[in-house]
Amino acid sequence: MTVADERTTAPVAKTPPPVEPSRFSLKHPRSRIAWIRPAVWLPLVVMLVLLGGLWHWGAEQLPYLLPPLSDVGGSLSDELGYYVHNALVTLGEATAGLGMGFVGAFVLAVLTSELPLVRRAVMPIAVVLNVTPLVAVAPALVVAFGFGPMPKLIITGLICFFPILINTATGLRSVPQQVLQVYRTMDASRVELLWHVRVPHALPYLFAALRIVFPLSIIGAVVAEMSASGSTGGLGTAISVASSMNQLPVVYASILVLAVMGVLLLLAVTVVERRVLYWHDSNQD
């Protein structure tokens, strides 16, 4: 219709969430292809080889501190079932605790953003809870709830709770004024505003929190297992048992499995994030 409007102004992401930039309209076909180029993967490979060499040298010098990498690998391949079983136990605790923390934090975030009274009552307590080293609470919870899964779920849930609460509450309340004004002149109800405007607006903030919280959930589960050593299982238990018996390869193999688990969880968040935020993008066609 008009020539003037066909200019392509670069789309600027309006409100980037605190940690990760919004992915609403970004397509990323290039990021996958990019890994073919040596300039992209070579530095990492070189670094890994260097670190491996350093480890190998260290293990030769200090055999009581570092196990040779071959022993770690051997332990992993010989007793794969053991590691998988314990990894699943830890993973189960981590995700269940995370789920509990998520539901609680999300509900509370909605309540605090809708009701200032709740915000004033709850937020100071949440902040205190956050600055309390929850790791220190673990032994007390073990005393209270025994060696079962309960203390692990509580610790994990509490650790995950705060980042989700703060980020989601921020997202819910950071809808631009002019957007709110448009829907206020239509007399949109609180529920309508929440459903159509606030919650979708908070999604990128929520995912930023999830990226922090997924690895944290594993830390929570491992710490809880370690405080309740002698309990059902899990990699935390495996580590504390093995280190008390000076089985260094098992300790490091467990740590390696934990690290891989963390990476996989982070990957899962990324995939879901793309799906969920891509959903708004793709569903239009």
């Binding site: 219709m1 008009t2 020539v3 003037a4 409007d5 066909e6 200019r7 392509t8 102004t9 789309p11 600027v12 992401a13 309006k14 919004s22 609403f24 309209s25 631009p176 002019q178 957007v179 004004q181 448009v182 829907y183 206020r184 002149t185 239509m186 007399d187 949109a188 109800s189 309508e192 159509h196 405007v197 979708p200 607006h201 999604l203 935020l277 708004h280 993008d281 239009q284 066609d285």
Partner: protein
């Protein structure tokens, strides 16, 4: 000062001795003082004046986003809050205020899903039959008319600033509002885009003939669009004069070449300057 124009039936907008003060005690600033304004249904009215003259405050009062401290604001005889509840008011803010996760089409159709009870409330408000805006408009058609036919399924981030603002205007027109309030909707756009958007706004308005309250700080924009230009002055914010613009419609580009258009521009400028100097004195 009285900014009235001739009235038939229930006016679309009526402000009676409206006063609005921000802050308390010595820090208080009077954003609007003793403002009277009557706008008959179907008129295009612009508010113009220097910053601090209360034009945006007046707009927010009409849109029900603020309450007057004194006086009365009526939209088709009811309070702005009731008018909002009946979805009689369409707002186009300064920024497009589109939802970035929805396509253009979904952005402009979302208002239909919100406050569904508004239709019934609207029918109960005076002289509804004469206003006769009840059918749900075909939003696709409106978007095509606004030149967004190719952008129906695009996200706001994929559009230019002008296209986004057009989508925001279509969203407001889609409500078939009795009163359309626009707060400097074109101020962030370059001049070419601005002129083409003015064209399209006039096209849409010619068809739907809703009452428009348009805040601007551009004299030529005010003269080109309006039936009435209301000149305001600051300290305290008030209406100093309302000038009826008696130019033929439709007002295409040809208008810019006409002497009468420039005479109106000069008149508005002169009134603005006078308001400004009286303020300085």
């Amino acid at each position: 000062m009285d900014g009235s124009v001739k009235v038939t039936g229930t006016p679309a907008l009526e402000l009676r001795s409206v006063r609005r003060v921000y802050g308390f005690g010595s820090a208080a600033t009077t954003a609007l003082d003793d403002v009277h304004l009557t706008v008959p249904s179907g008129r295009f009215v612009s508010l113009i004046g220097p910053s601090g003259c209360g034009k945006s405050t007046l707009l927010r009062l009409v849109a029900g986003l603020e309450q007057p401290d004194l006086g009365e604001v009526l939209v088709h005889g009811v309070t702005p809050a009731d008018a909002c509840a009946a979805k009689m008011i369409g707002l186009v803010p300064q920024s497009p205020a589109l939802l970035p996760w929805l396509s253009v089409l979904r952005n402009v159709t979302l208002p239909q899903k919100i406050n569904r009870g508004a239709g019934r409330r609207r029918e109960r408000i005076a002289d509804f039959a004469e206003r006769q805006a009840a059918t749900v408009p075909d939003m696709k058609e409106l978007l095509v008319k606004a030149g967004l036919g190719d952008a129906l399924h695009k996200l706001p981030a994929q559009l230019s600033g002008g296209m986004r603002q057009r989508a925001a205007i279509v969203r407001a027109f889609g409500l078939q509002p009795d009163v359309l309030v626009m707060d400097e909707p074109f101020s962030a756009l370059d001049e070419f885009t601005r002129e083409s958007l003015q064209d399209q706004l006039l096209d849409l308005w010619e068809e739907l003939r809703t009452t428009v309250l348009f805040v601007t700080h551009s004299v030529s924009e005010a003269v080109r669009l309006s039936d009435t230009v209301v000149v305001m002055a600051p300290n305290p914010g008030r209406i100093v004069e309302s000038i009826d613009v008696d130019l033929p419609r439709p007002r295409g580009e040809r208008l810019f070449g006409e002497r009468r258009f420039h005479e109106y521009e000069d008149l508005v400028r002169e009134r603005l300057r006078r308001a400004w100097s009286s303020e300085a004195a």
